[in-house]
């Protein structure tokens, strides 16, 4: 049983297992706008702690699910969002999850096939005895001078001096981004004045975008920030709210 399906929730609007919540949300029987997703995350962290072990597989599953919920909720909560933005059907969320699961399944099946191939090779051995002395290849010291081009070294070094575009941090990505980090990013940007959502998520992957949006919602709720989008898909301008809430961080992380 995975940790995710074991997760029991006791929220204001819903009490029961997490996967039932997911189902009810997808069927629109529970209003996602009323679900405190931060509470869900906290419950999950407590749950992990009580199990005393970190199951990466289950944790990732949870993150994928919660990210899908976050994205859904974010879209629902976007101020001035018109019908275009509200058209994410529950089936689209299901579609997204399905696509990921199919891809993973394809290579899991291929992996099973590889293991069968390897098992079928049981008992096949190759000779690994070293060649007889009269066949030993001479060492590199017998090669003439200058067989390698020094430019090869300069080029290799140059490649190592390159900084990746920011998007590359996603490669350690989806598991490691936290609401606290994204709050930090937003607050840092806002200290310098007004900013935009694009600025806050430049080069970020999808999950980071979701979490950033969630962090922004949290700041909005706490009166730390407000935002404005003048047209659908337009730039989202973010300005610091009148009263930064001292509790915000504790509530969101």
């Amino acid at each position: 049983m995975s940790a995710v399906s074991d997760l029991q929730l006791d929220l204001e609007v819903f009490s029961g297992p997490f996967d039932l919540l997911l189902t009810l949300v997808l069927r629109e029987e529970v209003d996602l706008l009323e679900v405190e997703l931060a509470e869900v995350v906290l419950a999950y962290l407590d749950h992990l702690e009580s199990r005393g072990e970190l199951d990466l597989e289950a944790t990732t599953e949870f993150l994928v699910l919660i990210a899908a919920l976050l994205e859904l909720k974010s879209r629902l909560m976007l101020p001035r969002a018109d019908d275009d933005l509200l058209d994410l059907e529950p089936s689209e969320a299901a579609e997204e999850l399905l696509a990921r699961m199919l891809e993973a399944k394809r290579y899991r099946s291929a992996a099973d096939h590889l293991r069968e191939l390897l098992a079928a090779e049981e008992g096949v051995r190759y000779r690994s005895a070293p060649p007889p002395p009269w066949l030993r290849r001479g060492g590199l010291d017998e090669l003439p001078a200058g067989v390698y081009a020094p430019e090869r070294l300069g080029a290799a070094l140059g490649g190592l001096l390159r900084h990746p575009p920011q998007v590359d941090v996603t490669h350690l990505g989806q598991v490691r981004v936290s609401v606290a980090e994204r709050l930090e990013v937003l607050r840092r940007l806002l200290r310098r004045g007004a900013t935009t959502f694009d600025e806050a998520v430049r080069g970020a992957d999808r999950v980071t975008v979701c979490i950033t949006l969630f962090a922004l919602l949290e700041m909005y709720k706490q009166g730390e920030a407000t935002w404005e989008q003048s047209e659908p898909f337009g730039e989202i301008a973010i300005v610091a709210g009148a009263e930064p809430a001292p509790r915000a961080e504790a509530a969101a992380t």
Binding site: L20, L22, E61, A94, L114, L118, V124
Partner: protein, 199 residues
């Protein structure tokens, strides 16, 4: 046995790696076409079940290998275990590298949904995969090695079967989709996540 067949037999015995037909031909100072009947002769001579050795075509070349009949005795004589089996994580990582090479570790992690650092490290250490440069983002790329082909009995990567053959049919996919939506009704201690994960 012709002299040419005798020479090829000796070369295959001496070479630590499978030898391509062209390399055998140039070592024997003949045309590759002249070698074809010799390789057929040897293939018949070392056909499975005839001798203690079998002639195999793997990793783009020819090589001699033992018949599994000898495995228990070989284990007793050499006290060397054969290649250990792959863990599920290693096999998944290897299959993604085998099919999508060159592929970076982040890409493997994205497909598997979990970080695959230790599986990658083990596959590298066992020589089944190797680095093959860097992606445009600077991530190290990996590919499979000739040893991978050899140990899995493959002549080349083209012999890997099309992985889409394991995809669910459109009907099954539709069913999965429905289940994701209807999981509440089907739920009897099994959630949508778990139910899908088992498929």
């Amino acid at each position: 046995m012709t002299d040419l067949a005798r020479i090829v037999e000796a070369l295959l015995f001496l070479s630590p790696e499978p030898v391509a037909t062209e390399d055998l031909a140039s070592a024997c100072d003949v045309w590759p076409d002249d070698l074809a009947p010799v390789l057929e002769e040897l293939r018949a001579e070392f056909a499975p079940g005839r001798r203690g050795l079998v002639l195999r075509e793997v990793a783009g070349g020819w090589t001699l290998a033992t018949d599994p009949l000898a495995e228990p005795a070989a284990r007793r004589l050499l006290a060397k275990p054969r290649t250990p089996p792959l863990s599920p994580a290693q096999a998944e990582t290897l299959s993604i590298v085998a099919y999508l090479q060159p592929v970076s570790r982040p890409e493997v992690a994205r497909i598997r949904g979990v970080a695959s650092d230790s599986a990658t490290a083990t596959l590298l250490e066992r020589g089944l995969i190797e680095e093959s440069g860097r992606s445009q983002f600077g991530a190290v790329l990996y590919r499979t090695t000739p040893l991978f082909l050899k140990l899995f009995g493959l002549g080349s990567r083209d012999e890997l079967p099309d992985p889409t053959q394991w995809d669910p049919t459109p009907e099954e996919q539709g069913e999965l989709r429905d289940r994701l939506l209807r999981a509440g009704e089907a739920r009897a201690g099994v959630g949508p996540a778990a139910a899908l994960g088992d498929d």
